[in-house]
Subunit: 159 residues, 3 copies
Amino acid sequence: RRGEMAKATQLIDNEVFRAYATYTAIVLLKMMLMSLITAYFRITRKAFVNPEDTASFGKGESAKKYLRTDPDVERVRRGHLNDLENIVPFVGIGLLYALSGPELSTALLHFRIFTGARILHTFAYLIPLPQPGRGLSWAVGYSVTFSMAYKVLKTAWLL
Amino acid sequence: RRGEMAKATQLIDNEVFRAYATYTAIVLLKMMLMSLITAYFRITRKAFVNPEDTASFGKGESAKKYLRTDPDVERVRRGHLNDLENIVPFVGIGLLYALSGPELSTALLHFRIFTGARILHTFAYLIPLPQPGRGLSWAVGYSVTFSMAYKVLKTAWLL
Amino acid sequence: RRGEMAKATQLIDNEVFRAYATYTAIVLLKMMLMSLITAYFRITRKAFVNPEDTASFGKGESAKKYLRTDPDVERVRRGHLNDLENIVPFVGIGLLYALSGPELSTALLHFRIFTGARILHTFAYLIPLPQPGRGLSWAVGYSVTFSMAYKVLKTAWLL
Protein backbone atom coordinates (compact mmCIF):
# COMPACT_ATOMS: atom_id res chain seq x y z
CA ARG A 1 0.00 0.00 0.00
CA ARG A 2 2.77 2.47 0.87
CA GLY A 3 4.50 1.62 -2.39
CA GLU A 4 1.41 2.43 -4.40
CA MET A 5 0.95 5.74 -2.60
CA ALA A 6 4.55 6.67 -3.25
CA LYS A 7 4.11 6.00 -6.95
CA ALA A 8 0.99 8.11 -7.15
CA THR A 9 2.52 11.05 -5.37
CA GLN A 10 5.76 11.10 -7.33
CA LEU A 11 4.27 13.57 -9.82
CA ILE A 12 3.77 16.08 -7.04
CA ASP A 13 7.46 15.62 -6.12
CA ASN A 14 8.47 16.99 -9.52
CA GLU A 15 9.17 20.73 -9.42
CA VAL A 16 7.58 21.59 -12.77
CA PHE A 17 4.46 19.69 -11.75
CA ARG A 18 4.41 21.45 -8.37
CA ALA A 19 4.60 24.81 -10.16
CA TYR A 20 1.77 23.72 -12.48
CA ALA A 21 -0.32 22.63 -9.48
CA THR A 22 0.29 25.93 -7.67
CA TYR A 23 -0.61 28.20 -10.59
CA THR A 24 -3.54 26.04 -11.71
CA ALA A 25 -5.03 26.14 -8.22
CA ILE A 26 -4.56 29.93 -8.16
CA VAL A 27 -6.22 30.63 -11.53
CA LEU A 28 -9.08 28.21 -10.80
CA LEU A 29 -9.67 29.86 -7.41
CA LYS A 30 -9.61 33.25 -9.17
CA MET A 31 -12.23 31.95 -11.61
CA MET A 32 -14.33 30.64 -8.70
CA LEU A 33 -14.16 34.11 -7.12
CA MET A 34 -16.25 35.38 -10.07
CA SER A 35 -19.25 33.44 -8.70
CA LEU A 36 -18.99 35.31 -5.38
CA ILE A 37 -18.65 38.67 -7.16
CA THR A 38 -21.72 37.86 -9.29
CA ALA A 39 -23.68 36.94 -6.15
CA TYR A 40 -22.52 40.15 -4.47
CA PHE A 41 -23.75 42.31 -7.38
CA ARG A 42 -27.01 40.35 -7.72
CA ILE A 43 -27.79 41.00 -4.05
CA THR A 44 -26.64 44.63 -3.83
CA ARG A 45 -28.21 45.60 -7.21
CA LYS A 46 -31.27 43.44 -6.51
CA ALA A 47 -31.10 41.86 -9.99
CA PHE A 48 -32.06 38.20 -10.17
CA VAL A 49 -33.00 35.78 -12.88
CA ASN A 50 -34.84 32.95 -11.06
CA PRO A 51 -38.28 33.72 -9.56
CA GLU A 52 -37.47 31.55 -6.51
CA ASP A 53 -34.51 33.84 -5.75
CA THR A 54 -36.77 36.86 -5.17
CA ALA A 55 -39.30 35.09 -2.91
CA SER A 56 -37.83 36.74 0.20
CA PHE A 57 -38.76 40.18 -1.24
CA GLY A 58 -42.46 39.34 -1.02
CA LYS A 59 -44.99 37.88 -3.45
CA GLY A 60 -46.35 38.94 -6.82
CA GLU A 61 -45.41 42.25 -8.44
CA SER A 62 -43.28 43.48 -5.54
CA ALA A 63 -40.85 40.57 -6.04
CA LYS A 64 -41.20 40.43 -9.83
CA LYS A 65 -39.50 43.79 -10.33
CA TYR A 66 -36.22 42.26 -9.12
CA LEU A 67 -36.23 39.79 -12.04
CA ARG A 68 -34.12 41.99 -14.25
CA THR A 69 -30.65 42.32 -15.74
CA ASP A 70 -28.14 44.77 -14.32
CA PRO A 71 -25.10 46.11 -16.23
CA ASP A 72 -22.69 45.32 -13.37
CA VAL A 73 -23.99 41.76 -12.96
CA GLU A 74 -23.75 41.15 -16.71
CA ARG A 75 -20.20 42.53 -16.75
CA VAL A 76 -19.02 40.10 -14.06
CA ARG A 77 -20.78 37.25 -15.87
CA ARG A 78 -18.94 38.10 -19.11
CA GLY A 79 -15.67 38.12 -17.19
CA HIS A 80 -16.54 34.73 -15.72
CA LEU A 81 -17.34 33.24 -19.15
CA ASN A 82 -14.11 34.69 -20.55
CA ASP A 83 -12.27 32.96 -17.71
CA LEU A 84 -13.89 29.63 -18.63
CA GLU A 85 -12.96 30.11 -22.29
CA ASN A 86 -9.32 30.84 -21.45
CA ILE A 87 -8.54 29.06 -18.17
CA VAL A 88 -9.92 25.69 -19.37
CA PRO A 89 -7.35 25.55 -22.25
CA PHE A 90 -4.60 26.65 -19.83
CA VAL A 91 -5.43 23.89 -17.33
CA GLY A 92 -5.68 21.18 -20.01
CA ILE A 93 -2.71 22.19 -22.17
CA GLY A 94 -0.69 23.22 -19.09
CA LEU A 95 -0.97 19.71 -17.63
CA LEU A 96 0.36 18.16 -20.83
CA TYR A 97 3.04 20.84 -21.02
CA ALA A 98 4.16 20.13 -17.43
CA LEU A 99 4.49 16.44 -18.41
CA SER A 100 6.41 17.22 -21.61
CA GLY A 101 9.65 17.89 -19.71
CA PRO A 102 10.18 21.67 -19.97
CA GLU A 103 12.91 23.46 -18.00
CA LEU A 104 11.60 24.64 -14.63
CA SER A 105 12.55 28.26 -15.42
CA THR A 106 10.74 28.18 -18.79
CA ALA A 107 7.68 26.56 -17.23
CA LEU A 108 7.58 29.11 -14.39
CA LEU A 109 7.81 31.92 -16.96
CA HIS A 110 4.75 30.53 -18.80
CA PHE A 111 2.69 29.93 -15.64
CA ARG A 112 3.56 33.30 -14.07
CA ILE A 113 2.80 35.37 -17.17
CA PHE A 114 -0.52 33.55 -17.75
CA THR A 115 -1.61 33.96 -14.14
CA GLY A 116 -0.61 37.62 -14.04
CA ALA A 117 -2.36 38.30 -17.36
CA ARG A 118 -5.62 36.70 -16.18
CA ILE A 119 -5.60 38.64 -12.89
CA LEU A 120 -5.00 41.85 -14.87
CA HIS A 121 -7.81 40.84 -17.27
CA THR A 122 -10.24 40.56 -14.35
CA PHE A 123 -9.32 44.01 -13.04
CA ALA A 124 -9.49 45.45 -16.58
CA TYR A 125 -12.99 43.97 -17.01
CA LEU A 126 -14.43 44.90 -13.62
CA ILE A 127 -13.05 48.43 -13.07
CA PRO A 128 -13.27 48.75 -16.24
CA LEU A 129 -9.96 49.97 -17.64
CA PRO A 130 -9.99 51.68 -21.07
CA GLN A 131 -9.05 49.47 -24.01
CA PRO A 132 -6.64 48.04 -25.05
CA GLY A 133 -6.05 47.09 -21.38
CA ARG A 134 -8.47 44.19 -21.37
CA GLY A 135 -7.63 43.16 -24.93
CA LEU A 136 -3.89 43.06 -24.28
CA SER A 137 -4.16 41.07 -21.04
CA TRP A 138 -6.42 38.60 -22.88
CA ALA A 139 -3.91 38.33 -25.78
CA VAL A 140 -0.97 37.71 -23.43
CA GLY A 141 -2.71 34.80 -21.67
CA TYR A 142 -3.85 33.42 -25.04
CA SER A 143 -0.28 33.55 -26.41
CA VAL A 144 1.15 31.75 -23.38
CA THR A 145 -1.33 28.89 -23.81
CA PHE A 146 -0.52 28.77 -27.52
CA SER A 147 3.22 28.56 -26.75
CA MET A 148 2.63 25.65 -24.34
CA ALA A 149 0.46 23.88 -26.95
CA TYR A 150 3.31 24.18 -29.46
CA LYS A 151 5.72 22.50 -27.02
CA VAL A 152 3.16 19.75 -26.27
CA LEU A 153 2.55 19.01 -29.95
CA LYS A 154 6.30 19.04 -30.72
CA THR A 155 7.02 16.59 -27.87
CA ALA A 156 4.01 14.28 -27.99
CA TRP A 157 2.93 14.32 -31.65
CA LEU A 158 1.17 11.04 -32.42
CA LEU A 159 -1.79 11.54 -34.71
CA ARG B 1 6.70 -1.64 -24.46
CA ARG B 2 4.83 -3.63 -21.81
CA GLY B 3 6.92 -1.92 -19.15
CA GLU B 4 5.92 1.49 -20.42
CA MET B 5 2.25 0.55 -20.43
CA ALA B 6 2.52 -0.70 -16.86
CA LYS B 7 4.05 2.62 -15.80
CA ALA B 8 1.32 4.60 -17.47
CA THR B 9 -1.48 2.60 -15.88
CA GLN B 10 -0.05 2.64 -12.36
CA LEU B 11 -1.97 5.81 -11.54
CA ILE B 12 -5.23 3.97 -12.11
CA ASP B 13 -3.98 1.29 -9.66
CA ASN B 14 -3.89 3.86 -6.87
CA GLU B 15 -7.09 3.86 -4.81
CA VAL B 16 -7.35 7.63 -4.36
CA PHE B 17 -6.87 8.09 -8.10
CA ARG B 18 -9.51 5.42 -8.84
CA ALA B 19 -11.95 7.26 -6.56
CA TYR B 20 -11.12 10.53 -8.35
CA ALA B 21 -11.66 8.87 -11.75
CA THR B 22 -15.01 7.42 -10.67
CA TYR B 23 -16.47 10.63 -9.24
CA THR B 24 -15.05 12.80 -12.04
CA ALA B 25 -16.64 10.55 -14.68
CA ILE B 26 -19.95 10.71 -12.77
CA VAL B 27 -20.07 14.51 -12.43
CA LEU B 28 -18.95 15.04 -16.04
CA LEU B 29 -21.64 12.61 -17.26
CA LYS B 30 -24.18 14.49 -15.10
CA MET B 31 -23.05 17.74 -16.74
CA MET B 32 -23.36 16.15 -20.20
CA LEU B 33 -26.93 15.11 -19.30
CA MET B 34 -27.84 18.83 -19.24
CA SER B 35 -27.38 18.93 -23.05
CA LEU B 36 -29.99 16.19 -23.46
CA ILE B 37 -32.42 17.94 -21.07
CA THR B 38 -31.96 21.20 -23.01
CA ALA B 39 -32.66 19.38 -26.28
CA TYR B 40 -35.73 17.73 -24.73
CA PHE B 41 -37.19 21.10 -23.64
CA ARG B 42 -36.29 22.80 -26.94
CA ILE B 43 -38.20 20.11 -28.85
CA THR B 44 -41.22 19.76 -26.52
CA ARG B 45 -41.54 23.57 -25.98
CA LYS B 46 -40.72 24.24 -29.64
CA ALA B 47 -38.21 26.95 -28.69
CA PHE B 48 -35.13 27.17 -30.90
CA VAL B 49 -32.39 29.68 -31.51
CA ASN B 50 -30.93 28.70 -34.91
CA PRO B 51 -33.10 29.22 -38.03
CA GLU B 52 -31.80 25.96 -39.54
CA ASP B 53 -33.22 24.07 -36.51
CA THR B 54 -36.80 25.06 -37.37
CA ALA B 55 -36.63 24.20 -41.08
CA SER B 56 -38.60 20.98 -40.51
CA PHE B 57 -41.58 23.08 -39.27
CA GLY B 58 -41.99 24.65 -42.71
CA LYS B 59 -40.72 27.82 -44.34
CA GLY B 60 -41.10 31.52 -43.59
CA GLU B 61 -43.32 32.83 -40.79
CA SER B 62 -44.66 29.41 -39.77
CA ALA B 63 -41.15 28.31 -38.79
CA LYS B 64 -39.98 31.71 -37.55
CA LYS B 65 -42.37 31.68 -34.59
CA TYR B 66 -40.37 28.83 -33.05
CA LEU B 67 -37.27 31.03 -32.87
CA ARG B 68 -37.96 32.14 -29.32
CA THR B 69 -36.76 31.73 -25.75
CA ASP B 70 -38.64 29.54 -23.30
CA PRO B 71 -38.35 29.83 -19.49
CA ASP B 72 -37.79 26.06 -19.04
CA VAL B 73 -35.09 25.94 -21.73
CA GLU B 74 -33.33 28.97 -20.21
CA ARG B 75 -33.50 27.39 -16.75
CA VAL B 76 -31.75 24.20 -17.91
CA ARG B 77 -29.16 26.31 -19.74
CA ARG B 78 -28.41 28.27 -16.56
CA GLY B 79 -28.01 24.98 -14.69
CA HIS B 80 -25.64 23.77 -17.40
CA LEU B 81 -23.50 26.93 -17.22
CA ASN B 82 -23.44 26.70 -13.41
CA ASP B 83 -22.16 23.12 -13.81
CA LEU B 84 -19.37 24.34 -16.10
CA GLU B 85 -18.42 27.07 -13.62
CA ASN B 86 -18.24 24.61 -10.71
CA ILE B 87 -17.36 21.21 -12.18
CA VAL B 88 -14.37 22.53 -14.17
CA PRO B 89 -12.60 23.69 -10.94
CA PHE B 90 -13.50 20.38 -9.26
CA VAL B 91 -12.00 18.32 -12.10
CA GLY B 92 -8.82 20.43 -12.29
CA ILE B 93 -8.19 20.92 -8.57
CA GLY B 94 -9.44 17.39 -7.77
CA LEU B 95 -6.78 15.85 -10.05
CA LEU B 96 -4.01 17.77 -8.27
CA TYR B 97 -5.60 16.89 -4.91
CA ALA B 98 -5.68 13.17 -5.80
CA LEU B 99 -1.95 13.41 -6.62
CA SER B 100 -1.12 15.30 -3.41
CA GLY B 101 -1.32 12.13 -1.30
CA PRO B 102 -4.50 12.52 0.76
CA GLU B 103 -5.87 9.69 2.91
CA LEU B 104 -8.36 7.58 0.93
CA SER B 105 -11.13 8.20 3.49
CA THR B 106 -10.60 11.99 3.39
CA ALA B 107 -10.51 12.00 -0.41
CA LEU B 108 -13.68 9.91 -0.63
CA LEU B 109 -15.40 12.33 1.76
CA HIS B 110 -14.52 15.27 -0.51
CA PHE B 111 -15.54 13.52 -3.74
CA ARG B 112 -18.80 12.13 -2.32
CA ILE B 113 -19.97 15.42 -0.81
CA PHE B 114 -19.14 17.36 -4.00
CA THR B 115 -20.92 14.85 -6.24
CA GLY B 116 -23.97 14.69 -3.96
CA ALA B 117 -24.12 18.48 -3.74
CA ARG B 118 -24.01 18.93 -7.53
CA ILE B 119 -26.74 16.32 -8.10
CA LEU B 120 -28.88 18.09 -5.47
CA HIS B 121 -28.08 21.44 -7.16
CA THR B 122 -29.44 20.14 -10.46
CA PHE B 123 -32.68 18.94 -8.86
CA ALA B 124 -32.97 22.23 -6.93
CA TYR B 125 -32.56 24.18 -10.19
CA LEU B 126 -34.85 22.11 -12.40
CA ILE B 127 -37.80 21.36 -10.08
CA PRO B 128 -37.22 24.20 -8.81
CA LEU B 129 -36.89 23.91 -5.02
CA PRO B 130 -37.43 27.06 -2.94
CA GLN B 131 -34.28 28.86 -1.85
CA PRO B 132 -31.95 28.38 -0.04
CA GLY B 133 -32.00 24.82 -1.47
CA ARG B 134 -30.07 25.68 -4.62
CA GLY B 135 -27.85 28.20 -2.88
CA LEU B 136 -26.82 25.76 -0.15
CA SER B 137 -26.08 22.88 -2.54
CA TRP B 138 -23.96 25.30 -4.60
CA ALA B 139 -22.09 26.49 -1.47
CA VAL B 140 -21.36 22.94 -0.31
CA GLY B 141 -19.78 21.98 -3.66
CA TYR B 142 -17.86 25.26 -3.72
CA SER B 143 -16.49 24.66 -0.21
CA VAL B 144 -15.33 21.13 -1.04
CA THR B 145 -13.36 22.41 -4.05
CA PHE B 146 -11.91 25.18 -1.87
CA SER B 147 -10.82 22.62 0.75
CA MET B 148 -9.09 20.51 -1.93
CA ALA B 149 -7.35 23.62 -3.32
CA TYR B 150 -6.02 24.39 0.16
CA LYS B 151 -4.50 20.89 0.41
CA VAL B 152 -3.00 21.21 -3.10
CA LEU B 153 -1.41 24.58 -2.36
CA LYS B 154 -0.09 23.36 1.03
CA THR B 155 1.49 20.28 -0.58
CA ALA B 156 2.71 21.61 -3.93
CA TRP B 157 3.43 25.30 -3.26
CA LEU B 158 6.12 26.46 -5.70
CA LEU B 159 5.45 29.97 -6.92
CA ARG C 1 17.16 15.77 -10.15
CA ARG C 2 17.48 13.93 -13.48
CA GLY C 3 15.72 10.93 -11.92
CA GLU C 4 12.77 13.02 -10.89
CA MET C 5 12.47 14.55 -14.35
CA ALA C 6 12.56 11.13 -15.94
CA LYS C 7 9.71 9.97 -13.72
CA ALA C 8 7.60 12.99 -14.55
CA THR C 9 8.09 12.65 -18.28
CA GLN C 10 7.42 8.92 -18.46
CA LEU C 11 3.73 9.52 -19.09
CA ILE C 12 4.56 11.43 -22.25
CA ASP C 13 6.64 8.39 -23.36
CA ASN C 14 3.50 6.25 -23.39
CA GLU C 15 1.92 6.08 -26.85
CA VAL C 16 -1.71 6.25 -25.71
CA PHE C 17 -0.88 9.27 -23.57
CA ARG C 18 0.97 10.90 -26.47
CA ALA C 19 -2.09 10.41 -28.67
CA TYR C 20 -4.29 11.89 -25.93
CA ALA C 21 -1.92 14.87 -25.62
CA THR C 22 -1.93 15.46 -29.39
CA TYR C 23 -5.71 15.35 -29.85
CA THR C 24 -6.44 17.29 -26.64
CA ALA C 25 -4.08 20.08 -27.75
CA ILE C 26 -5.79 20.12 -31.17
CA VAL C 27 -9.38 20.34 -29.87
CA LEU C 28 -8.42 22.93 -27.24
CA LEU C 29 -6.67 25.04 -29.90
CA LYS C 30 -9.78 24.67 -32.08
CA MET C 31 -11.90 25.90 -29.17
CA MET C 32 -9.52 28.83 -28.62
CA LEU C 33 -9.92 29.73 -32.31
CA MET C 34 -13.58 30.57 -31.56
CA SER C 35 -12.39 33.62 -29.56
CA LEU C 36 -10.57 34.95 -32.63
CA ILE C 37 -13.60 34.32 -34.88
CA THR C 38 -15.84 36.13 -32.37
CA ALA C 39 -13.42 39.08 -32.31
CA TYR C 40 -13.31 39.09 -36.13
CA PHE C 41 -17.11 39.28 -36.40
CA ARG C 42 -17.41 41.87 -33.59
CA ILE C 43 -14.97 44.14 -35.43
CA THR C 44 -16.27 43.62 -39.02
CA ARG C 45 -19.97 43.77 -37.94
CA LYS C 46 -19.23 46.58 -35.47
CA ALA C 47 -21.23 44.82 -32.73
CA PHE C 48 -19.84 45.19 -29.22
CA VAL C 49 -21.09 44.63 -25.72
CA ASN C 50 -18.76 46.71 -23.51
CA PRO C 51 -18.98 50.54 -23.75
CA GLU C 52 -15.15 50.79 -23.39
CA ASP C 53 -14.79 48.69 -26.58
CA THR C 54 -16.51 51.33 -28.73
CA ALA C 55 -14.57 54.34 -27.40
CA SER C 56 -12.42 54.46 -30.55
CA PHE C 57 -15.58 55.12 -32.62
CA GLY C 58 -16.09 58.46 -30.88
CA LYS C 59 -18.11 59.60 -27.88
CA GLY C 60 -21.80 59.58 -26.97
CA GLU C 61 -24.47 58.45 -29.43
CA SER C 62 -22.07 57.84 -32.33
CA ALA C 63 -20.31 55.10 -30.33
CA LYS C 64 -23.43 53.85 -28.52
CA LYS C 65 -25.00 52.52 -31.72
CA TYR C 66 -22.27 49.84 -31.90
CA LEU C 67 -23.40 48.40 -28.56
CA ARG C 68 -25.66 45.82 -30.17
CA THR C 69 -25.99 42.12 -30.84
CA ASP C 70 -25.31 40.71 -34.28
CA PRO C 71 -26.62 37.33 -35.52
CA ASP C 72 -23.18 36.22 -36.77
CA VAL C 73 -21.46 37.15 -33.52
CA GLU C 74 -24.12 35.34 -31.50
CA ARG C 75 -23.77 32.27 -33.72
CA VAL C 76 -20.03 32.01 -33.11
CA ARG C 77 -20.59 32.53 -29.39
CA ARG C 78 -23.11 29.66 -29.30
CA GLY C 79 -20.57 27.47 -31.11
CA HIS C 80 -17.95 28.46 -28.54
CA LEU C 81 -20.22 27.61 -25.61
CA ASN C 82 -21.11 24.28 -27.22
CA ASP C 83 -17.38 23.58 -27.47
CA LEU C 84 -16.95 24.28 -23.76
CA GLU C 85 -19.88 21.99 -22.92
CA ASN C 86 -18.47 19.13 -24.98
CA ILE C 87 -14.68 19.55 -25.05
CA VAL C 88 -14.39 19.91 -21.25
CA PRO C 89 -15.87 16.40 -20.68
CA PHE C 90 -13.64 15.02 -23.46
CA VAL C 91 -10.48 16.47 -21.89
CA GLY C 92 -11.37 15.28 -18.37
CA ILE C 93 -12.74 11.84 -19.22
CA GLY C 94 -10.16 11.36 -22.00
CA LEU C 95 -7.29 11.81 -19.52
CA LEU C 96 -8.72 9.12 -17.23
CA TYR C 97 -9.40 6.93 -20.27
CA ALA C 98 -5.80 7.30 -21.48
CA LEU C 99 -4.64 6.18 -18.01
CA SER C 100 -7.05 3.22 -17.92
CA GLY C 101 -4.87 1.14 -20.24
CA PRO C 102 -6.81 1.00 -23.54
CA GLU C 103 -5.30 -0.49 -26.71
CA LEU C 104 -3.53 2.21 -28.76
CA SER C 105 -5.70 1.47 -31.82
CA THR C 106 -8.94 1.73 -29.80
CA ALA C 107 -7.79 4.94 -28.13
CA LEU C 108 -6.80 6.48 -31.49
CA LEU C 109 -10.21 5.57 -32.88
CA HIS C 110 -11.94 7.41 -30.02
CA PHE C 111 -9.69 10.50 -30.21
CA ARG C 112 -9.84 10.76 -34.02
CA ILE C 113 -13.62 10.42 -34.27
CA PHE C 114 -14.18 12.96 -31.48
CA THR C 115 -11.78 15.49 -33.00
CA GLY C 116 -13.23 15.05 -36.50
CA ALA C 117 -16.79 15.37 -35.17
CA ARG C 118 -16.02 18.61 -33.31
CA ILE C 119 -14.31 20.17 -36.34
CA LEU C 120 -17.33 19.20 -38.45
CA HIS C 121 -19.62 20.64 -35.75
CA THR C 122 -17.86 24.00 -35.99
CA PHE C 123 -18.24 24.10 -39.78
CA ALA C 124 -21.88 22.97 -39.50
CA TYR C 125 -22.54 25.79 -37.00
CA LEU C 126 -20.69 28.59 -38.79
CA ILE C 127 -21.61 27.99 -42.47
CA PRO C 128 -24.39 26.92 -41.35
CA LEU C 129 -25.15 23.50 -42.79
CA PRO C 130 -28.79 22.33 -42.83
CA GLN C 131 -29.80 20.02 -39.98
CA PRO C 132 -29.20 17.24 -39.04
CA GLY C 133 -25.57 18.10 -39.93
CA ARG C 134 -24.83 19.95 -36.72
CA GLY C 135 -26.96 17.62 -34.61
CA LEU C 136 -25.25 14.49 -35.90
CA SER C 137 -21.71 15.83 -35.47
CA TRP C 138 -22.65 16.81 -31.90
CA ALA C 139 -24.10 13.34 -31.21
CA VAL C 140 -21.00 11.56 -32.54
CA GLY C 141 -18.66 13.52 -30.26
CA TYR C 142 -21.04 13.01 -27.33
CA SER C 143 -21.13 9.24 -27.93
CA VAL C 144 -17.33 8.97 -28.08
CA THR C 145 -17.01 10.71 -24.71
CA PHE C 146 -19.72 8.43 -23.31
CA SER C 147 -17.85 5.36 -24.56
CA MET C 148 -14.62 6.54 -22.89
CA ALA C 149 -16.51 7.22 -19.64
CA TYR C 150 -17.85 3.65 -19.68
CA LYS C 151 -14.29 2.26 -19.98
CA VAL C 152 -13.08 4.57 -17.16
CA LEU C 153 -15.88 3.53 -14.81
CA LYS C 154 -15.40 -0.17 -15.64
CA THR C 155 -11.64 0.05 -14.94
CA ALA C 156 -11.47 2.47 -12.02
CA TRP C 157 -14.79 1.98 -10.19
CA LEU C 158 -14.31 2.86 -6.52
CA LEU C 159 -17.34 4.67 -5.12
